[in-house]
Symmetry: C2
Subunit: 236 residues, 2 copies
DNA sequence: AGAAATTTTGACCAGTTGGAAAAATGTTAG
DNA sequence: CTAACATTTTTCCAACTGGTCAAAATTTCT
């Protein structure tokens, strides 16, 4: 192997901020915000389909309608785009769960949580897929957020549900797995969209499938979570 | 731009079989089968995490413990490895649904279907992720199989469930979405494993989480699908 | 053993990728 | 207008990518 020459004076800034020759004086130009938004939008499009490694800067630049170096002027690192996307996403993503209100009616709360999640799957499928992609490859870039913010939020809501169960308003189950199942069933319609469409066939393929899903899930969870007096779980 | 010279006599075979200098006389050598298995195993490892575009041949070769040219001797195209993996997978993946028996007890059938799917998520998480990856990016490589084999199978089982519902043995719902929800909730434990672990925390992280999941899902679906006389869905 | 076939390796290639440098072109405040 | 700054384009590069090829090493068959 031939030895490689490395310029010793080759130093770069690696702070999170737009590096290179980007200005730091004034906080943000109008044009900066605009272009960054365009880039993030394009990146979402590409990352959500190909994942981080599969996506290329050229591709994103093309979708964003600008040259690669121009794009790199705003986000000097590919990773930076991805990180921005993800951290913005996580907030939006958890909003519905945050809104679940301890003082509300358990069934109404859960039902509207399911609805909202399903609406998100319908209206922001790219975000859902970006998230799924990230999870699939081990969540390298968000593991901290998941382990802290997400966990705390779920812990909190699990406690709320526990209270509901103790009050006999909700069937006794594992609140964590209950939350998982809501995530899974709703996000499925975004992440596995192709499969859902293929299986439903051309005729049932309009946006109506989300209404059907909403009806079905509502029934499943409402019935599934109704408290019962006797749970004769004698199997076989 | 400099003109590129192209050798006109540069012909390659592009049939599905191992190309290059591979023999065609005898069907398969022992060593061929062995190495191909090793490669497929390594490829599963890599593809399931990074997706098709994100995975590199070098990476797969390294995991497989052989040189890249050596690997390419067995699978002359990257795509070929992927295809083999996927088509093998789909069969295994659908097996549990195929076993759902019209003449069995509806609840027993559905329960054991859920169990089996959950076991697969536990025992073959890489396969599940490979599949999820494929779906996320639009199922390019399997769209036909999905649209035909998978759809047919689901159509058939949906009819079975419809019969059960007509007989009053199962609550009336959309059988398609019922199947979707089983897929979603079970595969979630493979595809979103990181998230599940993170949320459950270190203490609940053993394999026990699958038992908890099984219990929870059983309750959810069994209760959720029990037929009811009156469905007085008057809320608020 | 020895020929033939199979398997493995090392050197190599053209195209792509993330990114750097710098020059060229706006834009704006004084 | 012009200096100072912001934005964009052009050119370029080293590392990596999927893949080739001929030669060498090994296995298999007679």
């Amino acid at each position: 192997m031939a030895p490689r020459k490395v310029k010793a004076a080759d130093q770069k800034r690696s702070d999170g901020l737009p590096g290179g020759r980007m200005p730091r004086s004034r906080p943000q130009t109008r044009i900066q915000r605009e272009k960054q938004d365009i880039i993030l939008e394009a990146a979402l499009e590409v990352f959500s389909v190909h994942g981080f490694r599969g996506a290329t800067i050229d591709q994103i630049a093309e979708v964003a309608g600008m040259s690669k170096p121009n794009l790199l002027y705003y986000f000097p690192k590919k990773e930076e785009i991805h990180r921005r996307l993800i951290s913005t996403l996580l907030d939006t993503w958890l909003a519905p769960l945050r809104e679940m209100d301890e003082d509300g009616d358990p069934f109404a709360e859960i039902r509207s949580y399911i609805r909202r999640k399903l609406e998100m799957a319908r209206d922001f499928p790219r975000e859902s897929r970006l998230f799924a992609n990230e999870m699939l490859r081990g969540a390298e870039h968000v593991i901290d957020m998941i382990e802290i913010d997400l966990k705390n939020l779920v812990d909190e809501k699990a406690r709320v549900m526990q209270v509901w169960m103790d009050q006999g308003k909700l069937a006794r189950t594992d609140p964590y797995h209950l939350i998982f199942s809501i995530w899974a069933t709703t996000q499925h319609y975004a992440d596995f969209d192709v499969q859902v469409r293929a299986v439903l066939g051309k005729d049932r393929n309009g946006e109506g499938r989300f209404d059907d899903a909403a009806r079905y899930l509502e029934q499943l969870f409402m019935h599934g979570l109704t408290p019962r007096q006797r749970q004769g779980t004698k199997t076989a």
